[in-house]
Amino acid sequence: MEAFTTYTGRAVPLRRSNVDTDQIIPAVWLKQVSRTGFDKGLFSAWREDPDFVLNQPQYEGAGVLVAGPDFGTGSSREHAVWALQQYGFRVVIAPRFGDIFRNNSTKMGLLPVVLTGEQVDDLQTRVEKDPALEITVDLENREVRWDGVTAAFEIDGYTRWRLMEGLDDIGLTLRHADAITEFETTRRPWFPTTV
């Protein structure tokens, strides 16, 4: 996973709530068995509309997506995170995220940032007025800065550390392989097995 410390760049305002993962990447794209090529599927149904925000040239190359509440609800498909990253997003800002989407994001190094509805609205309005506006997302100091505004956000210390170091969870867990083996000796013997 790519480490994340600070990102400075432009943003895309996505003025929609309940952007479920079926919209982020429709099911037809989920048939792939590789991890690449999902950028083409990102919001593919919505991108058919020439007015859709991602089709507007002034937002090309932006690395921050700023969306309404309940972003990434629904299906557990991690393909949604892959699609956002492969399209070029490093950060998604929203007032509330679907739990699984948020988890998947932090496993892959896409930073989900929760700001209040008012802050998100302010950021979207300013970006709409000036699409060249630079936003800084500073994970080290847990804050987002734009246009003289500084907005603090919360993230647990462990996830922040893992993102900043770009560490893979499996490697970290395997340091505790002995504890797992020990735990297994205490499991109820009648718990089911699939064999």
Binding site: D22, A27, K31, E78, D99, I180
Partner: protein, 465 residues
Amino acid sequence: MGRTLAEKVYDAHVVRRAEGEPDLLYIDLHLVHEVTSPQAFDGLRMAGRTVRRPDLTIATEDHNVPTTDLLKPIADPVSRTQVETLRKNCSDFGVRLHPMGDEGQGIVHVIGPQLGLTQPGTTVVCGDSHTSTHGAFGALAFGIGTSEVEHVLATQTLPQIQPKTMAVTVNGALPDGVTAKDLILAIIARIGTGGGQGHIIEYRGEAIRSLSMEGRMTVCNMSIEAGARAGMIAPDETTFEYLAGRPHAPSGDDWDRAVEYWTSLRTDDDAVFDKEVVIDAAELTPFVTWGTNPGQGLPLAGTVPDPASFDDPVKRQSAERALEYMGLTAGTPLRDIAVDTVFVGSCTNGRIEDLRAVAGVLKGRKVADGVRMLVVPGSMKVKKQAEDEGLDEVISASGAEWREAGCSMCLAMNPDKLTPGERSASTSNRNFEGRQGPGGRTHLVSPAVAAATAVTGRLTAPADL
């Protein structure tokens, strides 16, 4: 202070707890399907890792499988490759697989309970958000992404930050004609699609206690649609009766030990939930959705809402967009909405009781002219049981199509899909834009409402017939 059911199950699975770190949680059962696993198995290969506990892992083919012509190869080459990749991965890593055509094949959330693998007090995960279904047994069950699938395959654990707890108490008895599906749709409309976020919901109260296991699974299944991490119901006699004699359920002395343990899995009287919601069952009626998220639902007796009636600007905007997508006009009675297709099936409502409800309504009746109705059992075992009971004959005689098992039109990854602008009444779980096919319009309903709707061609409850 006492503990909630969720806390008891969670605590019993903590492998390691350290200040400032997530807990390491042991996983008792890992369910795998073809869509969210290929990249995880690839990850294991690249790192030279193995599946730590193939004996706690089971796979099935469900999302992509066609529901006709099972013996022919899958026509869509991309779907076929995905299914073949699962077969190779299961063979290479020693994981039990129920492939297409196998008598044990079915939707991942139908086969776990059917085999007796889903048991009270266990932790269950799957790369699928509807894993919450298994919470109906008092298991802690939640959906995960592909990175976590790989993590569980490699370590049989997951790092977790303990979720908060939420009680949804449904007092009183459900009125006649009101089903588990109506109940969960009403709960989601009440608390919203983000209302359960970060929480494990425990469903409690008389109305929940009186549900069958099938009904409980329908309720827990849609916990994710309320934003919750998981849904749970304390195990009781109904649970034990369902489990007894199933292939992987304990037997003999183990059964007694298991029941003793399972009986302890209830929320202590002095336990405190982080959030509580109380619902009066007597107020509930058949419930349907009108919009494009599962929180946009109303009693069937209602009318399509006017977006201007929402005070919250976010909800207003969402409703405006939903009406435009759904092709609906504010003020239209929901009972006047005509549908083209009726879909019965999915991990929400593809079980035997659902098919019985559908056959009960269709018996002696015909599907309306111009309406296509698909009935897709949740598993091959459910299909066989339905056929043994003669339900397939009733369903076919009405003009509905009786299909093979799979996820089918719930998410349209197989050939069963809506065409642009086509409208469905569906017993599945998501009315998202394009969920059942690009441009398709979905109304979520119970199996009984689905069957009655098929008969009239408009959203209808059996009592209206």
